[in-house]
């Protein structure tokens, strides 16, 4: 059957389903609503100022989901012995950071829940790479390891507000302000050098990670660096060699995610189109024993592809 007449977004979503199904992921159909209580208990995980709520016929306060991952994590029965692999195509409702109005966002993504080892991380990262490759040949998958930042933060023993400021500056690649803030707050020069190095990193994973290797401050950090190196080797073996880079500016939160974190960009689209990572902390907060990793593609960002200046 010829389906080439379909709009580009629909063709993309079909091709995405194909690669997810072929990798053993099962479609997960979600209910439209969640109990509002879930988002009260896990407020810090919800990436939105407000949630749309209504009262159900039985008087319960319900919400239109602002996030898919929490719902999947809450409902899964995965354990470290029994891994569950799921994908979804869902709408979420969030407030726009710019207009402060509610918007409907279509997300397609996968979640792998259970025992998350280097092979599972590689599989999910490879699927992220392949998903972007379906959208455009001109894409960029950025990788970072949150464990590296967490090690430094732990050693610094910095107050929460300083950590948040440092993260915000890393997030905006604001090297000069980072230098200033660290000096004003009396951060150990060894850590300052490390943070500045991390802030400036953008390039080939193997090459850049070797720079960090020499600067490792403790065993935890060494472990994270080695994990990143191992994953990189496996990714290369899977054929994901091009269009992949190490860049720590994608990290905006070190509590929600741990381990590998990723962001995907496509040429001529101004905003991030793919976001994901390992989120064992969410699982823990929902009393789950399993670890988990996944990513989501923001399908409505793709509509902008035509008409962007080059």
């Amino acid at each position: 059957m010829d389906i080439s007449w379909l709009p580009k977004e629909e063709l993309i979503s079909l091709k995405l389903r194909e690669i997810f199904e072929k990798s053993g992921y099962k479609k997960f159909k979600m209910t439209k609503f969640e109990e509002y209580q879930l988002y009260v208990e896990h407020k810090s995980l919800v990436n939105s100022e407000k949630v749309i709520t209504f009262t159900d016929t039985d008087g319960k306060l319900m919400a239109l989901k602002p996030d898919v991952t929490i719902s999947i994590a809450k409902n899964c029965s995965a354990t470290p012995e029994a891994t569950e692999k799921l994908y979804y195509n869902e709408n979420v409702y969030r407030t726009s950071k710019e207009t402060h109005l509610f918007e409907e966002i279509n997300q397609i993504g996968i979640e792998c829940l259970g025992k998350i080892d280097v092979n599972a991380i590689t599989e999910v990262t490879t699927l992220a790479w392949k998903s972007l490759n379906i959208i455009s040949k001109n894409f960029m998958l950025d990788i970072a390891h949150i464990g590296i930042l967490q090690s430094i933060f732990e050693l610094m023993n910095a107050p929460v507000s300083l950590k948040e400021t440092i993260l915000r500056l890393l997030n905006t690649k604001n090297v000069f302000a980072l230098k200033k803030i660290c000096a004003e707050s009396g951060v150990n020069p060894e850590y300052v050098q490390l943070l500045l190095e991390i802030c400036g990193i953008r390039g080939d994973i193997a090459k850049e990670i070797n720079k960090l290797k020499a600067l490792c401050v403790n065993e935890d950090m060494k472990k994270s660096v080695n994990e990143l190196l191992e994953i990189n080797e496996k990714l290369i073996a899977e054929g994901c060699k091009k269009n992949i880079m190490l860049d720590f500016s994608i990290i905006s939160n070190v509590d929600y995610y741990n381990g590998i974190f990723m962001h995907g960009y496509v040429k001529n689209l101004p905003r991030v189109v793919l976001s994901g990572g390992q989120y064992d902390n969410i699982m823990k907060s929902l009393n789950k024993k399993a670890s988990a990793i996944g990513f989501a593609l923001y399908m409505d960002e793709l509509e902008f592809e035509e008409g962007m200046p080059c």
Binding site: M140, N174, F176, S249, Y265, K267, P270, R271, M308, C310
Partner: protein, 201 residues
């Protein structure tokens, strides 16, 4: 080709002077002052002149790859962009000013007139002071004179305007200067061009 958003006015002129001296000249800029887009194919650059408070929006949405903008605008609108350089010009400060004889009554809600709602709100909530913010679009100095507000939060460069209106700074909040910002996607796909520009300036 790099698309650069410049703020209309003095800051934009200074920014253009810096960029043109470093090899990003665009002759058209001198020829016709009504135009809003200037392009120089040979230097690989296109300039847009936009309202200063809109620079962040043009860059965040990718209409411009780079932008030059005051730190005040970044603080007020927090666009999702990279802040790559402090350019060191356009220096001034964000400050609270009040009439010479003003004494704060801490029993009452403080009335503050300003253009910078978010910055003002964040500052006073950080010190837990109850305020009533009055949004104005210009001539902020007039507000305390007419009794519209107790104090103002505004940019102060030399302090001359304040003095002429019998006002003075009672608290300096943040140092402000011009910043070079970049769209996060452009930074990835035009990395070589952007790094070349960063290296030159």
């Amino acid at each position: 080709m790099l698309n650069i958003a410049l703020p209309k006015g003095r800051l934009g002129n200074q920014a253009y002077k810096l960029l043109s001296a470093k090899g990003y000249e665009c002759r058209e800029v001198y020829e016709d002052t009504r135009k809003l887009v200037y392009e120089s194919k040979e230097n690989g650059v296109r300039y847009f002149l936009v309202k200063p408070s809109d620079v962040g929006i043009y860059v965040a949405h990718g209409a411009a790859d780079l932008g030059i903008v005051g730190k005040d605008v970044i603080m007020e609108t927090s666009p999702d962009v990279y802040e790559l350089l402090d350019l060191g010009f356009g220096k001034c400060k964000m400050a609270v000013a009040a009439p010479m004889d003003y004494v704060e009554n801490t029993e009452k809600t403080l009335r503050v007139a300003t253009k910078f709602i978010t910055i003002t709100k964040n500052y006073y909530s950080s010190i837990s002071r109850e305020v009533n913010i009055i949004k104005l679009h210009g001539s902020i100095e007039l507000a305390p004179i007419l009794g519209l507000s107790d104090v103002i939060v505004d940019l102060v460069e030399s302090g001359k305007t304040l003095k002429e209106n019998n006002l003075h700074i009672i608290k300096e909040l943040y140092p402000i200067s011009a910043r070079l910002i970049a769209n996060k996607s452009s930074f990835r796909f035009k990395n070589a061009l952007i790094n070349e520009l960063l290296g030159k300036i």
